[in-house]
Subunit: 261 residues, 2 copies
């Protein structure tokens, strides 16, 4: 075990337009994966087990720097601090825990949750975009098939529930691996779409725990909100792999615009 | 809005034996509150809304320093980094979000969770300690009354569920306020006690979101584990106040010792 007192390392990255949506907003999950991947270069452990991040300011497409500070390199777990900066200003702060994520050989001691009950992907609802809408990089990078029961918003008829469910997989051949879960955990639309609440739902805090190495194939994802109050909402996301294993749990605290009474 | 580029502030604190249990282990929730309280001195916002922390190493009773770095002071939200050090070595890293927590005047837009169904406190089970057991500072500081349905472990007959529920209030006259929720959110015993899994369950990552200013009186708390696998478990804690409002949501990722087959 070493308590690292070394100077932080700096990693230059390019934030790609491919992951923007709306007016150049970069996808929060992809940013989280980008930061965590940089941190993972500074530990001997193979996987990111957990990341907590605070989105202090929205980064822009272009050059950015990730500052990585190893905090403690333990036998089972390593801790690192990481920060994404642009033009010297901090945009996202993260705490990264690295270790080894269980593969399918590890039998869970206890599981009290169950995968979402989704129709097969071919009976689910994809996203379409008309030419006058801004690009949606998330949908270009990821294929999402929503459960029709929580996809009323696609028909502009929000179903009224605080839950969205669907299948997700890469469109670009990116394989399922533990790091990719950080992107997937923030890829469903916010639950506000089904509640008929418009506007951007900026993430303030996002924590993702990776619980298993995902098998290849579609990922079954479900996102639930428990409390929307005073402009703040929580969203829990579970990701299940094609063999029915819970591979990722995420929670975020976000802002929403309170509808006028 | 200012992007603070000031040097970090340093706050000296004394970690009190009063909050230890077992062999001098300091209570993780109380440590979280101590760190967050120091951070709150460096923002104009009145409340801690969210804290994420990684427990890289266990601090000891005695002198410690909390390093606070304001990251961004916004109109609605402030972000700060905070770190607890002892003898110059980082022990706990935290990301703190400050803002205004809703009081009872704010009507929730949507709530999809419900308080735990607990018998009244006088029908619940307290903790007792025999003289040959080490002190339990958490029980000295907090009064906990467990739902008999999840208190089998008190009779050394674990009930087998991955859930514990009970009432909590201060024994020392500490009023309920948003900061106190950070202590309460980690004060129930780990769900492993009802699963018959012995040993310390050290927190690796703990995130607490404060969702409402709590009313005076007993707090109804419930903690659930969803997946125990490969030595890692998650625990979700909800805290409800005496008027039935959800005032706090927490999740932690912790380690447990896998029982021998």
């Amino acid at each position: 075990v070493t308590s690292a007192q070394t100077a932080p390392a700096h990693v230059d990255v390019e934030l790609a337009d491919a992951w923007t949506y709306g007016r150049g907003i970069l996808h929060g999950g992809h940013l989280l994966e980008t930061i965590a991947a940089a941190a993972l270069e500074h530990t001997a452990h193979p996987h990111v087990v957990s990341v907590s991040a605070v989105y202090a300011a929205a980064p822009s497409v272009g050059a950015a720097t990730i500052e990585v500070e190893p905090v403690r390199e333990g036998r089972t777990v390593a801790s690192l601090r990481a920060r994404l900066l642009q033009d010297g200003a901090p945009k996202i702060d993260a705490l990264v825990t690295a270790g080894t994520v269980s593969d399918a050989d590890v039998a869970p001691l206890r599981l009290t949750s169950a995968p979402p009950d989704l129709p097969p992907p071919e009976e689910c609802v994809g996203f379409s975009r008309s030419d006058d809408e801004p690009r949606n990089g998330i949908q270009e990078q990821l294929e999402t098939r929503m459960d029709p029961a929580t996809a009323g918003f696609v028909r502009l008829e929000p179903g009224g529930g605080a839950e969205v469910r669907g299948w997700i997989r890469s469109r670009t051949g990116r394989p399922n691996d533990p790091l990719f879960m950080l992107t997937v955990a923030d890829a469903l639309p916010p639950v506000t779409v089904e509640l008929g609440i418009g506007g951007w739902v900026p993430t303030v805090e996002l924590t993702v725990h990776v619980r298993g190495v995902p098998a290849p194939g579609w990922l079954a994802c479900v996102q639930r909100g428990r409390l929307l109050s005073g402009g703040w909402l929580d969203e829990d996301c579970e990701v299940w792999d094609s063999t029915g294993r819970l591979v990722c749990q995420a929670r975020q605290l976000a802002r929403y615009r309170e509808p006028r009474a």
